[in-house]
Symmetry: C2
């Protein structure tokens, strides 16, 4: 199992499988088939078997997958069998919503700090967080050894902020600013931009 050898498109489907399996487990289910999992996630059974077999043999022909075992394996493969500290940059409405979101911890993530450059926001509390001055961001993130950040600053500030995150040692950026980021190839970026997702659908309307 070599991280570089598995196509990223397959890696991208694993969190979808994990999410569906966790919901099955919550419902009390103990085993599932690639057929059944496929119906849940809208991906063919053959594709699921092929994807999962990249990482080993996790099910027996005819008896399907033991759900909790497969969950453990996927969490291990995706390295979310631990809690990752996450910094949120930008305490606007979205940063606010993310900081209060309760659904991260059971999926491997814990927001630990929140930054903004607006003097009227710095020092204020959002839930359990005090908004910190982003001028201290590099030092704080570096000292706390935080490797993951969510970027919710305006587009115009996103690249400069990303540069600072890279400088601070961040290796994975979830970018909500509607702009493509240039980062070294040792840093990964994922994008969340609702307008982009909507435009991908209007094409078909």
């Amino acid at each position: 199992m070599n991280a570089d050898k598995v196509p990223d498109i397959i890696v991208g489907r694993l969190p979808i499988y994990l999410r569906a399996l966790q919901r099955m487990a919550e419902k009390g289910m103990t085993t599932t088939s690639s057929q059944e999992l496929g119906e849940h996630v809208g991906i063919s059974a053959a594709q699921i078997r092929k994807d999962i077999s990249q990482f080993g043999e996790f099910g027996k022909q005819g008896t399907g997958y033991p759900i909790s075992f497969l969950i453990d394996k996927l969490r291990e493969i995706l390295k979310v069998n631990r809690l990752w500290d996450v910094a949120v940059i930008g305490a606007g409405e979205l940063g606010h919503a993310l900081s209060n979101f309760q659904g991260f911890t059971d999926r491997g993530f814990r927001i630990v700090m929140l930054f903004d450059n607006d003097p009227s926001k710095i020092g204020k509390s959002i839930g359990e967080f005090v908004i910190e001055d982003s001028s201290n961001m590099v030092e704080r993130i570096c000292n706390a050894n935080v490797k993951i950040a969510m970027l919710t600053v305006p587009a115009a500030a996103a690249q400069a902020t990303a540069d600072k995150l890279v400088q601070a040692g961040v290796r994975a950026i979830l970018n909500y600013a509607p702009i493509s980021l240039n980062v070294p190839n040792t840093v990964r970026v994922q994008y969340i931009d609702p307008a982009t997702h909507l435009q991908r659908m209007t094409y078909y309307l």
Copy 2:
């Protein structure tokens, strides 16, 4: 140019190109090359030329692409050379943030209604919207001929709500609930789930 003939993976890159071109235009640029565009979006020049050529000849060898012309063409192809009405279902923090987000209209979308089932929220205002009772959702969406919805309800309520949206004639759902939806194949779904995006990156850490 047949919508069914262009692979969805290519369709998915067009909004990224459009976004980058719009930022170039804002900066006063008038022409670009596939090389330059590629550096902005992190996609190879060859891939960009191949993707765009699916829809016709929009640039001349050696002189590059006229930016405003290519923007117009991409907006036409993606059908965002108009404003689409959008309904938001779920007036929690995320629905709140989306309703106040100013970045949709110049990309083809206008939020026109916002629903929740919580009696303590119904009738309250968020910006220019009054939160409506979701028990009227099907009728309201159907009568207003709204074809696009953003779903920000809890996971446990998402499938039932999606079923109602389909019943109301919605053809495109941007789903923020962390669950895969089953919808007829005449309806498209795109997913935004930050934990899924984060897990796709931790794999490489």
